[in-house]
Subunit: 277 residues, 2 copies
């Protein structure tokens, strides 16, 4: 008997994966949390039926949401990760020797527990209680409203803008992100698919550009996500990701990210340029 | 009643699309040819059950397989397209005012007929009998073996390396491509997914690099294809695609391709760099 699970990426499109077994399935206060083992992607975290990350391709998302902003900032020391319950973003963040502290605020403790148990290669920095990492289970929106001028880089590693992630795509949230950053701070948010979430991207880009002198969208190829193409949006008070000196990049031991990719990922096809014009 | 069609991209992974209706289904001497109308991708050409192109995203593939080589060559006049039965590659080729002739050799006349009938926006240059285009229904492998020193650019717009496309991925075919090109000629071939066809890419890259002084792989984001990431391999006798002067590019009226994308698409993530090392 073959088991297949289909994620409906839109009303009319699905990605269907052959599944070896369901390793965990449970309901938290916020969402249904599951881990399945698939033949193509290996173990995957699934929230409310939506594929979040897999051991096959997680490195792409996590390297690109972390190293692009951290290599853009001249001296990132205090980092905040909102969401990121699987631990992949903090694992990449602590590769930067100059980072002094990584606060992580995840709303759903069950996601962290399940990731530590079933996705140890992703949650490595949480599992080992990395000394630079402080994990707080709580509301990232509230945390951001209370923070002021204290972070060099904020990484918004959220799920889709439905369910618990919804309030992380509002002008009010972006105002609080701006306030929580230092005078030369910058932030990055995962901002969905340029093929399938064009209205969302158009709006959030405009909202971020209204607050930050530098707003830039960049791309990464992630087979697990709709269309295989994902975008991230950066708002920066001072540093321009296109002006980095590639020769000065730290050794990061990455499988996707490198200096050339850092620059190339900001070069947008015409249809995406038009989207954020 | 909802109709869904699932393309199995690997043994363990499928893309499933909601279908409005099947517009055509028939058997040629070479393969099963179908056109379906889908809700997400619009009308799609399907060969032996494999999605070939859709009106939603065909521009990406066709712009990238044509404009990257044609903008790399200083003065491309004589163009050969192998395959490309849907007509998208010749449609893009004739956008270049300097091109004098485009020969197209497609093995399967039914693909051309069906594309002209059901995919008029893709087959436009065939439908209008564009004066620069000569269409020949025949064997591209044989045509290549007989050609010598006559083309500036050859575009191998083939299907997967199973079925009729198989002989287009061999060292012998590449030797004939080399022979068919002028002394400063170059060619490009679609070379599948860097996530799912790594062995194929490793081998063909090595075979092409053994013949051409410049061999380069480049990327495009195509939601219809496995993993959403597709690669193309260029073998060039003289011109380097990285050395083009972006300021001199012609006006092409494209939705994906532009000068910045031309340069960025050659910047490879580490896992692809390692593949072709």
């Amino acid at each position: 008997m073959e088991l297949w699970y289909t994620e409906y990426q839109t009303k009319n499109l699905g990605l269907t994966c052959r599944i070896k077994e369901t390793l965990f399935q449970g309901q938290s206060e916020f969402q249904e949390v599951a881990v399945v083992d698939s033949l193509e992607f290996g173990r995957m975290l699934v929230l409310d039926g939506v594929f979040q990350t897999s051991v096959f391709d997680e490195y792409i998302y996590h390297e690109m949401i972390v190293h692009v902003p951290l290599c853009t900032h001249a001296n990132p020391k205090k980092i905040l990760v909102i969401g990121g319950g699987d631990g992949g973003a903090v694992r990449e963040t602590v590769k930067h020797a100059g980072v002094e502290s990584v606060e992580m605020v995840e709303i759903d403790g069950l996601v962290v527990d399940v990731s530590k148990k079933f996705l140890p290669e992703i949650s490595a920095a949480l599992l080992t209680n990395h000394p630079k990492v402080q994990l707080k289970i709580g509301d990232g929106i509230k945390h951001m409203a209370e923070a002021e001028g204290q972070y060099d880089v904020i990484i918004v590693d959220c799920s889709d803008p439905i369910g618990p992630g919804e309030g992380l795509f509002t002008p009010e949230f972006y105002r609080n992100v701006h306030k929580a950053l230092k005078a030369d701070g910058l932030f990055v948010q995962q901002t969905e698919s340029p093929f399938y979430h064009q209205d969302l991207i158009r709006h959030l880009y405009r909202d971020i550009a209204a607050l930050f002198p530098l707003t830039r969208l960049y791309l990464a190829n992630i087979p697990l996500y709709p269309g295989g193409l994902h975008c991230f949006t950066m708002g920066s008070k001072k540093y321009d990701p296109l002006q980095i000196n590639v020769a000065n990049l730290p050794e990061l031991n990455t499988r996707y990210y490198n200096g050339a990719v850092h620059k190339a990922c900001f070069e947008l096809p015409n249809f995406i340029r038009n989207l954020i014009r």
